[in-house]
């Protein structure tokens, strides 16, 4: 018996219209179409979704946790990107 070489797919489900697709888990499938069908059977047995994306895990490029500090550092010292950085008098309406 030969070992299965079905690729690993990551599965993303849109819970309902208006929401983003969210990663829910992974599965193995021989091809894209079967991955989609298997994802339906595995991750939406109770109406958990209205739309599914599957993507081969190997096609995902991810940031590395080892470099998370330097990688995200550029946004760390830019407090002026947040609305709370700006002092506005209390009596200015709608701002």
């Amino acid at each position: 018996m030969t070992r299965s070489s079905w690729p690993l797919y990551e599965v993303f489900v849109r819970g309902k219209r208006g929401l983003n697709h969210v990663h829910v888990g992974s599965l193995h499938a021989p091809d894209d179409e079967m991955a989609l069908r298997n994802a339906r059977d595995l991750y939406t047995r109770r109406n958990e979704g209205v739309s599914i994306w599957v993507v081969k895990a190997e096609a995902i490029t991810a940031s590395s946790p080892d470099e998370k500090d330097p990688f995200f550092a550029p946004s760390g010292d830019k407090v002026y990107r947040h609305p709370t950085f700006y002092a506005i008098p209390e009596d200015v309406p709608h701002l």
């Binding site: 018996m1 070489s5 690993l8 888990g25 599965l27 193995h28 021989p30 091809d31 047995r45 946790p65």
Partner: protein, 307 residues
């Protein structure tokens, strides 16, 4: 930054460890062992109840049981996927199960002799599983915790369908009530064993609690399960087969009798009533399905070449 210290701080702060984070080898190995054993339990757990799908007494009961067994397959797959994020190989996990090198919950080595067992498994076995699994929704490894949240949501249906099935039988004939009692008599003690050996003999508990993989000890969870089950049994009208089971007002818990740990270790070590049959069935299903996996692979390759 010291990787080990960063890991310990993450765990101590009750933050989640994620797949690509650095983690100690022991943490990774413990998780792979525990998640694989858990996944195998779900997959082997399809057999005792699957045994009754074709003989469930009505179309309604057949549909319910079929959905439940399908859920068990789903739970196994969520968990295998979580194990794979730690670097485990899916095929290898199945091979280890078939070769007896990885274990599954001993409860599934007991036979389902009557249809009442379907109800009692839902009520007691799934009830005990829920006690074990709810705290795992907060376990320190992210993918495992997320899989457990999905599992727990679905497990609630399992327990309720079992209890409802038993209530229906208990409102039936004398013979049906006797079947329920007989089934409870057989499953009560093995259900208590599902929480594992007593704390004093549980080799993995201490480290697993430190790593926040486990959140409660075996004995704590067992006590919780006993306390939950007593009023459920009373409402159902069945007797739990333990003469020492009594409310202890001082402790605020039920006292209960001594568990037969000799039986527990025998079943763990492979001498339970159905150990050989369960693994053999899994092996056969895996080998009989090989041509399907191969054909699907060949078809995918052919389509790719044509494109």
């Amino acid at each position: 930054m010291d990787l080990e210290r960063e890991f310990e701080q993450t765990v101590a702060a009750d933050h989640r460890v994620e797949p690509r984070d650095w983690m100690p080898d022991g943490y990774r190995a413990t998780l792979v062992r525990q998640i694989a054993q858990h996944a195998h339990s779900e997959i082997i757990g399809m057999q005792p109840e699957g045994n009754w799908i074709s003989r469930a007494p009505s179309l309604r009961r057949k549909a319910i049981l079929l959905a439940k067994v399908q859920d068990e397959a789903g739970h196994g797959l969520y968990l295998y996927a979580a194990a794979e994020t730690l670097g485990a190989d899916r095929e290898e996990l199945t091979e280890k199960l078939i070769a007896g090198r990885q274990k599954y919950s001993s409860i599934f080595n007991y036979p389902t002799l009557t249809y009442a067992d379907v109800g009692v498994i839902g009520w007691l076995v799934d009830g005990a599983a829920i006690c074990n699994q709810v705290p795992l929704c907060r376990t320190s490894y992210g993918p495992y915790a997320r899989a457990m949240i999905r599992v727990c949501k679905e497990e609630s249906f399992h327990q309720r369908q079992g209890y409802e099935l038993l209530m229906t039988m208990m409102s039936g004939t004398e013979q049906q009530r006797a079947l329920v009692q007989e089934s409870v008599d057989r499953w009560w003690w093995p259900s208590l064993m599902m929480f594992g050996p007593p704390d004093a003999e549980s080799s993995n508990t201490e480290q697993s609690m430190l790593w926040r993989i486990k959140r409660h000890t075996n004995d704590e969870l067992r006590q919780r399960f006993v306390d939950m089950s007593v009023p459920q049994a009373a409402k159902l009208g069945v007797t739990l087969p333990d003469p020492h089971l009594v409310w202890n007002a001082e402790r605020g818990h039920h006292d209960f009798g001594e568990i037969d740990w000799t039986e527990f270790w025998q079943v763990v070590k492979g001498a339970g009533p159905c150990n050989a049959q369960r693994v053999e069935h899994r092996r056969k299903a895996h080998e009989d399905g090989a041509w399907v996996r191969e054909a699907a692979t060949a078809y995918a390759r052919k389509k790719e070449q044509a494109a």
